[in-house]
Each structure stands twice: as structure tokens, then as C-alpha cells.
């Protein structure tokens, strides 16, 4: 019996080759793209995590009033405060020497899966003297990176590039998750104080939850400022 002629498999081989090329290209892209990082929660806080660190501070050491803000970079209310009220607070109170501001991380992991990564990106920017610039960029860009979007590591790296950070140092800092303990320490401290939502402001020993208007902050600062240092009209 004569053998059946071999089938023309050229089209099949072409498709197989295309599939293989696409698969290899996809894997190669996944390997060479900037690595997404994750910052672990509930890490053990070591003494070194908090030595000499009590939050990110802006304002004069001589300012008569200090406000500590507990916030989460992925929280919409914190973003609202940062975008609408914060510029006025900074210009009218901090830069005039009336107020010192302390920012502390209080990431709400259950609602905001990327809050710790954002806090860590800001901590890495702080290493290069650009904490507040990164703070502003993260809040301004929150709509671009917050969940349910994918892991925002590359987006944050873009902010770092825009801020002219040394990207090698930034990448190393992010990959090492070296500030995970610091973020956890901040969270633990806020929780002990009674912080339960963000933003929460600690002013003169009292907690104020929710977005505060800059005018309300100004009134509080005026009230708390010793008479001798209150600017006279």
C-alpha cells in the first residue's frame, strides 16, 4: 500500500513559531521590566528602625505649635487634605514659622494595599532629601496608582525620576524594604495613641479625625500660640 503523502505543516509550524516568539518576548519583558516590590506589614520593629526618627518634619524647630498628621498615601481623604488644605497650611503657617508639621505613616492595609509601598517610596525619597516633594507627588497622582490598579512600583519610580532622584539608590532602597520597620513603628505608635482612621491630627495632645480645613487649623494654631509670639495686627 502506498504511503499517504505528508501533510503540509508549514502553516502549523508558522503558528507554532509565532506562539513561541510571543511567549519568549513576554517572558523576557517580565524579567527585564522594573521589579514590583511589596512592603511587608506587621514586621517586628527593631530599635534601629526608630532611632533618631520621629516622623517626617517640616517647619522651624522654634515654631510654637506642632501638629502631627497620621495619614495613608492611598486614602482619598488624605489626598483631599494634601491637595486642598495642605498648600495653604504650609504657605501661611509653616513657612511663617508659626507651625511645625510632623507626618507619620498610618497605612490601612485592609483598604489600601499599596499604602505601604507608597510610604516606603516617600521614605526612600527622604534619603535623598526629597521627602515632601515625593509626598506631594504621591497624593497628586493618587488617582493614577491607587487600587484596583496594578502594583504601582513603576509609577512611583516615575515620580522618583521626575524628582531627579538617583534611581540606582532609589531602586536599591525600594528592593531592600529597609523602612518597613519604620512604617510599622509609626503605625503602632498611632494605634497606641488612638488613631483609628486617616487623616488624624494630633494637636496639643488631642486627636482630630477627618479632613480639617486650613482655616480651622489656623484658628487652633492661633489659640495655642503663646501670646508673646502671636503676630499683632
Amino acid at each position: 500500500m502506498a504511503k499517504a503523502p505528508p501533510k503540509n505543516l508549514n502553516r502549523f509550524y508558522l503558528l507554532l513559531g509565532l506562539g513561541a516568539a510571543l511567549g519568549v518576548a513576554a517572558l523576557a519583558y517580565l524579567v527585564v521590566r522594573p521589579k514590583a516590590v511589596s512592603i511587608p506589614a506587621n514586621v517586628t520593629v527593631l530599635a534601629g528602625d526608630t532611632t533618631g526618627f520621629r516622623g517626617y518634619v517640616i517647619g522651624s524647630d522654634l515654631a510654637p505649635v506642632e501638629i502631627t498628621e497620621y495619614a495613608d498615601f492611598e486614602c482619598p481623604a488624605c489626598s483631599e487634605f494634601a491637595l486642598v488644605q495642605w498648600p495653604s497650611v504650609r504657605d501661611r503657617l509653616i513657612e511663617t514659622g508659626q507651625l511645625r508639621w510632623r507626618y507619620r505613616d498610618w497605612p490601612i492595609d485592609q483598604l489600601h494595599p499599596y499604602a505601604r509601598i507608597a510610604a516606603h517610596a516617600a521614605a526612600c525619597a527622604n534619603d535623598q532629601g526629597k521627602y515632601w516633594e515625593m509626598h506631594d507627588a504621591l497624593f497628586a497622582g493618587q488617582g493614577e496608582w491607587a487600587a484596583p490598579r496594578g502594583n504601582p512600583t513603576s509609577k512611583f519610580r516615575g515620580y522618583a525620576r521626575d524628582l531627579a532622584l538617583n534611581l540606582d539608590e532609589y531602586d536599591q532602597c525600594m528592593q531592600s524594604a529597609m523602612y518597613a520597620g519604620r512604617i510599622q513603628a509609626s503605625y503602632d505608635e498611632g494605634s497606641k495613641l488612638g488613631v483609628g482612621s486617616t487623616p488624624t491630627f494630633l494637636i496639643d495632645g488631642r486627636l482630630y479625625s477627618g479632613v480639617m480645613a486650613s482655616d480651622s487649623i489656623r484658628k487652633l494654631v492661633d489659640r495655642l500660640t503663646p501670646a508673646a509670639t502671636t503676630p499683632q495686627p
Binding site: 505528508p6 503558528l15 506562539g19 517580565l30 524579567v31 522594573p34 521589579k35 502594583n151 512600583t153
Partner: protein, 134 residues
């Protein structure tokens, strides 16, 4: 085609496990849990690597069976049925581990399970066809 797809799925999981890919597209967190569980290696070898090698062998046998000189040979169909049958049995064992030991399901592992099951069914059909033809 199925073997090629399986090969890439295994390669993806293996590259993730080996740390070459930062995060895995999984959605549920099950892939991370499964991939870093003690059951993710079998006799000291990563299960993803076993899958990678297994799919590569299946692909090689499939391509060999397509060659004109093996057009009438039974061995490629027999080898495919045996290999994919063994892989299905191994996959069932892995599914058991996922569901009852690790208590997490890796979606990519499910994709691989579907691919190997389809490969097994097609190899049985091919085996029957070859038997009838001879």
C-alpha cells in the same frame, strides 16, 4: 500548541519562584502562597521546573510525531499518552495538595491542569486513530 502553552505557563511560574519576576499576575494571592509552600517542590525539585521539563518533552515528542518518517509509527502516540497520563496523575496529586494541604488555589496551576488534561484527551484520541489505521 497545548504543550507550548504549558511550557510558557511553567516557565512563568518557575521564573517567579526563582525571583526573576517581581510579582505574579494572580489576583487572589493563591499563586504566591502555593509557589512558596513546602509542597512547591517534589523530591527537592521545583514543581514548576518539573512542569517546564515535562512540557518541553511533550512538545518534542509531538513535533517528532509530525515528521514524515514517523507518520505511520505508533510510538509517538503511545509516548504522548503515557507522558500526558503520568502528568495528569501528577497534576491530580498537586490539586489535592492545593485544596487540602495548602488551602490555596493558584490560577496558573489550574491553567496548566486544563492544558495537560486536554493534551491527554487528544493523545488518547490519536492513539485510537493510530491503532485503527494499523
Amino acid at each position: 500548541m497545548l504543550s507550548l502553552a504549558g511550557l510558557f505557563v511553567s516557565a512563568y511560574l518557575y521564573l517567579y519562584k526563582a525571583g526573576y519576576i517581581g510579582t505574579i499576575a494572580c489576583g487572589t494571592g493563591g499563586c504566591e502562597r502555593v509557589q512558596f509552600s513546602p509542597q512547591s517542590s517534589f523530591l527537592g525539585v521545583d514543581v514548576a521546573l518539573i512542569g517546564l521539563v515535562g512540557y518541553a518533552i511533550l512538545l518534542g515528542v509531538s513535533l517528532a510525531g509530525l515528521q514524515p518518517k514517523f507518520a505511520e509509527a505508533r510510538w509517538p502516540a503511545v509516548a504522548l499518552a503515557l507522558l500526558s497520563g503520568g502528568a495528569v496523575a501528577f497534576t491530580l496529586y498537586l490539586k489535592y495538595l492545593e485544596l487540602f494541604v495548602i488551602h490555596a488555589v493558584c490560577r496558573w496551576c489550574v491553567v496548566s491542569a486544563v492544558l495537560i488534561a486536554a493534551t491527554f484527551i487528544l493523545s488518547i484520541l490519536e492513539l485510537r486513530r493510530v491503532r485503527r489505521a494499523s
